[in-house]
């Protein structure tokens, strides 16, 4: 369809909307934002007549590549180190995708602009596509990769795992609370516009370098829809900016959304890219370098900064602090070590790091070896059962961390941990911003104004609480992370499948009692707690 025809067709389609006079649409999902003064902003034009064939063509390419990968024995050259992490990633990501579909009516309800409604409804269908195409990719991995364990229980594992819960914020944050906070600022303005770059562009690059060209095939196809979504989000953002009353809410939500996305996405994708790869070329970009390019330059400098001309205060401090955490405070390395510490309650295997990996990390992150090298040597030393416990229960100079009540990634940058009594409970936070998110932002009042539509942090937020004082073997069994012989764990701290004696079983992990740091913290006296927190913070990780 020519551009002229498309413009004419789009104008025609806008005639389909009307102002209701008999009944007011139900307010299913409220917002504290107001759009009374908003000028109508038109997002990218899309009509269904061209949309469906376009997407079908994209699909044909994806499914053709999938057939080709199987015919060409792609799995002869896939790195297991890489594909194991996909058991975690691909268990998480279809839920945020489908949540994005579910978020669209929230934005439609909140924003009085029929031209945006069309774009949002098209996005809804895109997101159904993304979710199911990703589930299908995972199914293909399960069917063709050497070790299907973990892929085979994927959605159950996602729903009961500590890491799955971290990722779940990325979906639940889209569909809950204030409609604009959730479906616009958190989902579109930050997650889609900023962080899909690392999710769907940077990470597939790394997949290809590890012999997996299907992840790039699927995720680049997904990413090709994102520009329309970004356009939807930007249109709504500009409409919200037209009313001064929205400015404090926008600034609140940009701070929350930016920081939460950083905490969650950088933790996961940073780990996959840095610790899931076998490609240790010195000139291949580290996650920090990718982040600088995709997030700092492409998003922060090109997208966020120009919003200042509308009088919006951009969270410069949080952008810089995210960068600081990644480059100087070892955020990604800490998360990777934490995931590896928890290997018995994972549904994927984590490879040990070798001298080649050490050399690369030291090159990219000077000082890495002195902080993490010894721990990874211990991980390697303790990889097999028989003579030792899982590393979390051995003395390797690592204290199991407190969980951040807000982002649910543990407080791994220990000197930054905030401890406060909130809602009659001692809670730990990874950072001041996560504390602020719980104590200030997600409340019914903000900055002296009522915010009844703002969401709440709910649920059993510390995963460890559910398993407090239980035997590790019982926890693993309860979670279902056991292979089909009824005794071998799905998670293993190595990639050796050729020798059954190297595979940990329930008997090998029995006798280790798992304790919840938060339960213990709340049982402490004030003096005990202060001493405990001081010691925890003193075990900091900032580069000397």
């Amino acid at each position: 369809m020519s551009r002229q025809s498309l413009t004419k067709a789009h104008a025609k389609i806008t005639e389909l909307s009307w102002e209701p006079t008999f009944a007011t649409p139900a307010t299913r999902f409220g917002t504290d934002y107001t759009f009374e003064k908003a000028p109508k902003k038109d997002p990218l034009k899309q009509i269904m007549r061209s949309y469906f064939p376009m997407e079908e063509e994209k699909d044909n390419r994806v499914y053709g590549a999938m057939d080709g990968a199987i015919r060409g024995n792609m799995f002869r050259q896939v790195q297991q180190r890489w594909l194991e992490w996909q058991k975690l990633f691909l268990s998480i990501i279809p839920f945020p995708e489908i949540s994005a579909a579910r978020a669209m009516p929230m934005a439609i309800d909140a924003v009085p602009n029929p031209e945006i409604h069309n774009g949002l409804a098209v996005q809804m269908i895109d997101e159904v596509r993304h979710s199911t195409i990703q589930m299908n990719l995972k199914r293909l991995y399960m069917n063709n990769y050497i070790d299907p364990a973990g892929f085979d229980m994927t959605e159950k594992a996602f729903a009961n795992n500590y890491a799955g819960t971290i990722g779940r914020q990325f979906g639940e944050g889209f569909i809950t609370g204030d409609a604009i906070t959730a479906a616009n600022i958190y989902l579109t303005v930050v997650a889609e516009t900023a962080f899909t770059n690392t999710l769907f562009v940077a990470m597939p690059d790394e997949a290809a370098a590890n012999g997996d060209y299907l992840l790039p095939t699927v995720f680049h196809s997904v990413q090709s829809d994102e520009s329309r979504h970004i356009s939807n989000g930007y249109s709504i953002l500009l409409m919200a900016l037209a009313d001064e009353r929205n400015r404090p809410l926008l600034e609140r939500d940009l701070r929350y959304a930016w920081w939460n996305n950083h905490c969650v996405v950088d933790a996961a994708i940073g780990t996959f890219i840095e610790y899931g790869t076998k490609d240790r070329r010195k000139d291949r970009e580290s996650y920090a370098e990718m982040w600088r390019r995709w997030i700092y330059d492409d998003y922060y400098r090109s997208y966020l900064l120009p919003l200042e001309k509308y009088g919006l205060t951009i969270p410069h401090d949080l952008v810089e602090e995210a960068w600081n955490r990644i480059t100087n405070k070892g955020y990604v390395h800490e998360v990777a070590r934490f995931f590896a510490t928890g290997w018995p309650v994972n549904y994927w295997r984590i490879d040990a790091m070798t001298d080649k990996d050490f050399e690369w990390f030291e090159h990219k992150y000077p000082g890495w070896y002195s902080k993490y090298g010894k721990w990874w040597e211990n991980y390697n030393r303790l990889a097999y059962p028989g003579r030792n416990k899982p590393i979390a229960f051995e003395e390797v100079g690592y204290q199991y961390p407190h969980r951040c009540w807000t982002c649910m990634v543990p407080a791994l940058i220990r000197e930054d941990m905030v401890v406060e009594k909130v809602d009659d409970q001692w809670r730990t936070y990874c950072s001041e911003t996560c504390y602020w998110t719980d104590a200030v932002a997600f409340r019914g009042e903000y900055d002296g104004r009522p915010t009844p539509n703002m969401g709440r942090l709910t649920g059993f937020r510390e995963w460890e609480t559910l398993h407090h004082n239980k035997d590790l073997a019982d926890i693993v069994q309860d979670l279902g992370y056991v292979r089909d012989d009824g005794k071998t764990l799905i998670g293993q701290p190595h990639l050796d499948l050729d020798d059954p004696k190297k595979m940990w079983t329930l008997d090998d992990v029995r006798g280790n009692t798992f304790m919840s740091p938060n339960v213990l913290l709340n049982e402490m006296s004030d003096a005990e707690r202060e001493a405990h927190v001081a010691a925890y913070r003193a075990n900091g990780t900032t580069a000397a």
């Binding site: 997407e55 799995f75 009516p105 291949r284 703002m454």
Partner: protein, 365 residues
């Protein structure tokens, strides 16, 4: 002269990581094992849809981690008055997922596009009589608003609220159908307004907004958008409104009389909407049959649906009766309003019977 950068690329390594390369525990566990498929072997649809939306009653151990300011987050079952002992038992008979959505809708798009191109090439509109042009201008023009309103503010809305991914995905596809169909009607309207025939492409707005015969229909559509209970909304839209108003207009009028008025274009386009509704009724029927046959809640659901029928049937019948004058507008009047309405009512009764619901008394009046 700039220095040529040394090319750098990763090394391929043969890892022998194919399925079957080694035997070890779970090495042959190649099916999703966290749900029980409806049949012996899981379908592609089930594999890519089931449990993607978590449920605290299934595997979700930490509960929903975000809530609304005034209630729990996620997908509370209390968002409808209908009850089920197992919402997850619902599976979409159309088995919609990525490939089916785009293949089906692309096929429809190609069909409509080809049809419209042929119409232009054959100057098909030239032979339409003025009464028929006016009929299409006013009535199909008005109807496309209803389709669009249902797409954006009924079905798109419902798919946020259902308690399972299987329900919400089926409804999302329903929304896509409606949006595509509404747009196809609008672009058909555009083609007609650009053809060398007396056709006012803007007339539909006023007809939808003010013409007396269409106001009760607009009222029902607007009242639908005001319903908060997602299940009532689906019931009222797909079981009641579509049967008594949608099918009455599309199936029992347009599809029956267009050809006799020299129009072979409109039935091709409206026929795609009929095909959509046939699919969408399929999943809707399955869902409500599941609810009326529920061993624990079937009877209370039937009472509830009876209340919904009592609300929506009179409104839809009012809308249907108001449309009566448009049966007289075409030059060739091959069906009467009475026969069309009888046919629509009969199909509606049959659907209700299939669901185990009593026909409301208003149908006999």
């Amino acid at each position: 002269m700039t220095e040529t950068k040394q090319r750098s690329f990763p090394t391929i390594e043969f890892t022998d990581s194919e399925a079957g390369a080694l035997e070890f525990p779970s090495s042959t566990s190649r099916a999703y094992n966290y749900y029980k498929p409806a049949k012996l072997r899981a379908t592609m649809y089930e594999d890519v849809t089931v449990d993607v939306q978590p449920d605290p009653e299934r595997h979700l151990s930490q509960g929903w981690i975000y809530g609304f300011g005034d209630g729990p987050g996620g997908y509370p079952k209390e968002w409808t008055a209908a009850r089920s002992s197992n919402w997850h038992a619902f599976l979409d008979p159309n088995e919609e997922w990525d490939q089916t959505i785009y293949r089906n809708n692309s096929a429809v798009v190609h069909q409509v596009d080809l049809c419209l191109q042929n119409a232009k090439r054959a100057r098909a509109y030239d032979s339409w009589n003025p009464a028929w042009l006016k009929f299409i201008e006013r009535n199909l023009g008005a109807w496309m608003h209803a389709e669009n309103g249902l797409a954006l503010h009924v079905f798109t809305s419902i798919q946020r609220s259902g308690p399972t991914n299987m329900i919400n995905t089926a409804v999302a596809v329903n929304a896509a159908h409606k949006m595509r169909f509404a747009q196809d009607l609008a672009l058909f309207n555009l083609d007609l307004s650009e053809a060398d025939v007396p056709f006012d492409g803007a007339a539909h707005k006023e007809v939808w907004k003010s013409a007396p015969e269409w106001q009760p229909t607009r009222e029902v559509v607007e009242r639908l958008t005001a319903v908060g209970d997602w299940c009532e909304l689906l019931f009222a839209a797909n079981i009641v409104f579509e049967q008594l108003v949608g099918s009455l207009f599309r199936t029992e009028l347009v599809m029956q009389i267009a050809a006799r008025n020299g129009d072979y274009i409109t039935p091709t386009i409206v026929g795609t909407g009929e095909y959509d509704y046939d699919r969408d009724l399929g999943y809707t029927r399955n869902l409500f049959r599941l609810l009326t046959r529920d061993a624990e809640y079937g009877e209370t659901n039937k009472v509830l649906f009876g209340e919904w029928l009592a609300t929506w049937v009179p409104r839809c019948l009012d809308a249907a009766h108001a449309l009566q004058p448009i049966w007289s507008q075409p030059a060739e009047k091959s069906v009467t309003f009475a026969s069309s309405l009888d046919a629509a009512k009969q199909k509606f009764r049959s659907l209700l019977e299939d669901l185990g619901l009593d026909s409301p008394k208003e149908l006999d009046q």
